[in-house]
Symmetry: none
Subunit: 412 residues, 2 copies
Amino acid sequence: MNVETLAVGTELLLGQIVNTNAAAIAVRLADSGMTHVRQTVVGDNATRMQDAIREAVGRCDALVITGGIGPTQDDITREAVAAVAGVPLFFDEAYARDMRVLWERRGREFPESNLRQAYRPEGAVAIPNPKGSAPGFRIEVDGCWILALPGVPAEMLAMLDDDVMPFLVSMTGDDASIVVSRVIKSWGMSEAAVGELLSDLFEGSENPTVAFLASAGVIKVRLTARASTQEAAHSLIAPLETEVRRRLGDHIFGVDDDTIEGIIHALLLERRWTIATAESATVGMVASRLTSVAGSSATFRGSIGAYASDIKTSLLYVPEDLMRTKGIVSQDTALAMARGVRRRLGADVGVAVTGSAGPEPLEVEAGTMCVAVVTPDGERARTFTMPGDRERVRTYTATAALHQTRLALMGS
Amino acid sequence: MNVETLAVGTELLLGQIVNTNAAAIAVRLADSGMTHVRQTVVGDNATRMQDAIREAVGRCDALVITGGIGPTQDDITREAVAAVAGVPLFFDEAYARDMRVLWERRGREFPESNLRQAYRPEGAVAIPNPKGSAPGFRIEVDGCWILALPGVPAEMLAMLDDDVMPFLVSMTGDDASIVVSRVIKSWGMSEAAVGELLSDLFEGSENPTVAFLASAGVIKVRLTARASTQEAAHSLIAPLETEVRRRLGDHIFGVDDDTIEGIIHALLLERRWTIATAESATVGMVASRLTSVAGSSATFRGSIGAYASDIKTSLLYVPEDLMRTKGIVSQDTALAMARGVRRRLGADVGVAVTGSAGPEPLEVEAGTMCVAVVTPDGERARTFTMPGDRERVRTYTATAALHQTRLALMGS
């Protein structure tokens, strides 16, 4: 079933609010195996709204409209749908009476403008609103089901879950397919490199589909399968996931909701190790990410932000000589910092970062960042050349340090 | 000028990400007096994308497309626009060469798939991407300007502000085409309280307009004026700004691009003071924000993330007795930490945070956070009760600590 969504509201077109309703509906459509083909937003303008509805009716099997069914003059969804359907508005006496009773029971005067909410296109079925006063409605127009819901997210969601989704699923008949997605998360390769490695899997992929998402150095590969049961969808994904894992190997650090911080925390708990950080250029970033995990006090000891180089010596035992001969931004200094913070804070694992975040170079070119990790089992150090501005360099380096930590904990 | 936006990305139709780009573009269009008539989202599907572009070209004067210009196979905006324009793709040799050089300089192998980014529809002008590798482009098709930008918000925004908005404004030839915005930033009052204090200024405001934006505890009041010259726009804003300043007083910490971190850095430079942080619940967050400022090595000494309480004693000289009698989460402990980090790291100003970030309570209810600032001129400590989840509590507390630091530095 091809479904579109249409949000109505000038406040969306002015950027005063973000269309989160569209994403909430999208997730449910995907979960129910429906194809979400297009989202549209128009303002509170009768002609533009009718145009948008008419176009959608010509394209899809169901159109979910959010917004425009409240009591004010600029709530025009009822009129627009009626115009496209070519029917008059119908006044629901029973609903109007119920509304009056409800207000009277609350001891408040009934605003007559609320009666606008008792209208709906003739032939439409009301969709009850358990969280508000504006009822929704559904009506079939030229083979397309139009479902109108309020714009208020809490009301919209309740009606979507209680009424609209079950209705749409019942309309799909016995073909109602289940959609299952698996997100495989990798680090250490560019999006282009991942795309290239997997390009033959992607080419012409229809079921499962393969998609890529990049954010802050992490490349996510999303596999999505459709089938009539959960089991069938999973078994469509399984061989593809195995193949993606084989090709990306160690670059994969997790799936779905896994975070690198959570994975490190779990690895540390498993080994009964604690961790501490010594950060120069990224001061505090690695530490704050490690402590974003609830319960991290079981594995995280503390951190030393050694921005001034005398602090590297006084608190982290980095010999001045070493920094002079090898450089403050060097793998040797990073290793000395990691060893130093383990000793100073009594931790099993030490993670250290030293570098030149920019914009001005410090010893070395801006963007040169050294990361070291020392565990009871061994040591590793890497140098990265990070592109971009100061914040990007720092953020990406913190991410890199976390991934180096994971690799060190896994002994690879 | 009627403008539409079109976002491309199956991840949007699956609800995996929210279309925040549309809202960001919407705000700028509104500020510039352009009419934003429709937003559309389609997936990475060639036919549907061409349809959406063709329809928009028939309706509006400019179409801003976000997404689909990266290096992977599912990035199809270039091809779709070329198809609608009826032109072939053109390969930009110079850009391809520059990309290769850039990758080689970073010492990384160049993925050939990146060359996809060197294509654009023949006749299109490239829009430089200062924050990423995918250039955008603009091309006129049947009297409609199509402007293609990346989907990555930071890249999209930079290109929108540097290139697309000035271009669109120049195309309007509008007399009152100069838009000037002034953002006044406040901390320490709720959005509702700010809104109430300024409600009479806001009611029916058309030029200048008044809008409120809240993010992480900072309430921004945006004044926007349109006029035919910069001077005229500024003089529309000036009296309103004076009135807003009078009403919000000390809660205002900056304007426009001012950041609390930059303001603290400037205050420290002025006083020739250095700063250091001691953080428990927020570990590293205050430190990483202070060092986000370029040149912060002139004022920032270092930081100690004292998660384990024995570190508060061993590195920050906080007496065990004090923590036992007053509590680890107490203003007394925060003050002792601030004094301790000044002494340990040889800084003039010490900022400390101790608290219970949750989800489990630690001594006190989750969300109870104590902040202390010690300067050569005096000491201050405050307790905050922060609502929300662990990340929200930590982020808001880091912001609160920075604002307490500013107030302490100003001696108020």
